[in-house]
Amino acid sequence: MCCPEETTTNAHLITTVQPNDRSIITIRSFSIVISILLACIVGSDQDIYDLPQRFFGDIKDISCQQDTSTSLQRDECDPKDVVLADHRQWRGEVGYWLGELSLYQSDGSPNESADWRKLFLFDITPN
């Protein structure tokens, strides 16, 4: 949902495409060359990098799935517009849940009497 069409650049391609995806690099590089030529011929004032997205939208999607950490993508999205209910997991959270809960110690044994004071490195037991 957060993969804006306008943010893909050459640098983005280099950082996001994995080594085993050389075919994608080749196709996308080719598409950019085509788009530059089209932009020159048509005289469009659009960002030349928009054009390959229009022609090769499916490739854009693949690239987007590979990189979810690039700030270039996030900048185009407004967090206020996120609708959590659009996603199955978030919808699943809605409602009333009963839980049977257990806690286990680091050796795997049930924690009969939890002593959280030992869970951190420093001892917080009072003197």
Binding site: V82, E93, Y96, E112
Partner: protein, 235 residues
């Protein structure tokens, strides 16, 4: 987000308490954690998620009461008696999407300084992670929790907890099922009875701050009000 904050809360709040006043610390290790019950409500509205929990702990065994007494450890919190009365804690979690990334993941600071992330995994799981901020600007993973929804009404949560050098310190295993509102509150009542929790200890304590929760009188009504907050419209 299947925010399983309870155990993490206890850790962090214990640290905070250490630096403020130890005497404000309530020793919930007086209750068994091998098997206890959670009552959890959750809701999403726009980009916001809310979760309200009430956790109920059974009375300690007589053997454990004697053991703790012999070690000069506290045996009870509140008004009850060790070995006879259980107890409860309330927890709250509110998160908003603060960044716009791949697919409705949440990022934010818990308690103002503790980085947390919740990421969707595939189409049936969420990964919630909590980090401990380090002075050099990096962060150490202290909890990693996977929630898997296996059906529309069953989910399982397992959390791994770590110390600051990455050693595993504990693991939790929460088996949860979605029920109707009626069944939920019926089971809440049954648990209060079977754990013999006194009204004065019922939804009295905030699990994170370890201070009195809310301004109302503790008791069943306070539990209901707390749990229903998940469904109140956001302002």
């Amino acid at each position: 987000m299947a925010v399983q904050l309870e155990w993490f809360d206890i850790l962090i709040s214990s640290l905070i308490s250490q630096f403020s006043s130890y005497h404000s610390l309530f020793d919930y290790s007086a209750y068994p954690y091998s098997s206890y019950k959670g009552f959890i409500t959750g809701n999403v509205e726009g980009n916001a998620y809310r979760q309200r929990n009430v956790f109920m702990y059974p009375p300690s065994t007589e053997k454990d009461c004697r053991k703790r007494q012999s070690r000069n450890q506290s045996t009870i919190v509140g008004q009850g008696t060790c070995g006879i009365n259980g107890n409860s804690l309330v927890f709250s979690a509110d998160q908003n999407a603060t960044t716009c990334n791949d697919n409705a993941s949440l990022e934010g600071l818990y308690w103002g300084f503790i980085p947390t992330t919740t990421r969707l995994v595939g189409d049936n799981a969420l990964l919630y992670q909590v980090f401990y901020p380090l002075p050099d600007g990096s962060a150490s993973l202290i909890q990693s929790q996977l929630t898997t929804l296996t059906t529309g009404s069953l989910r399982t949560r397992t959390a791994q907890s770590f110390n600051q050098v990455g050693e595993a310190t504990s693991a939790s295993f929460y088996r949860e099922r979605k029920v109707s509102k009626d069944e939920f509150f019926k089971e809440l009542n049954n648990t209060i009875q079977s754990f013999n929790i006194l009204p004065s200890d019922l939804c009295y304590m905030d699990g994170f701050t370890k201070k009195k929760y809310g301004s109302s009188t503790p008791g069943y009504e306070q539990c209901i009000n707390h749990l229903q907050q998940s469904f109140e419209p956001l302002l």
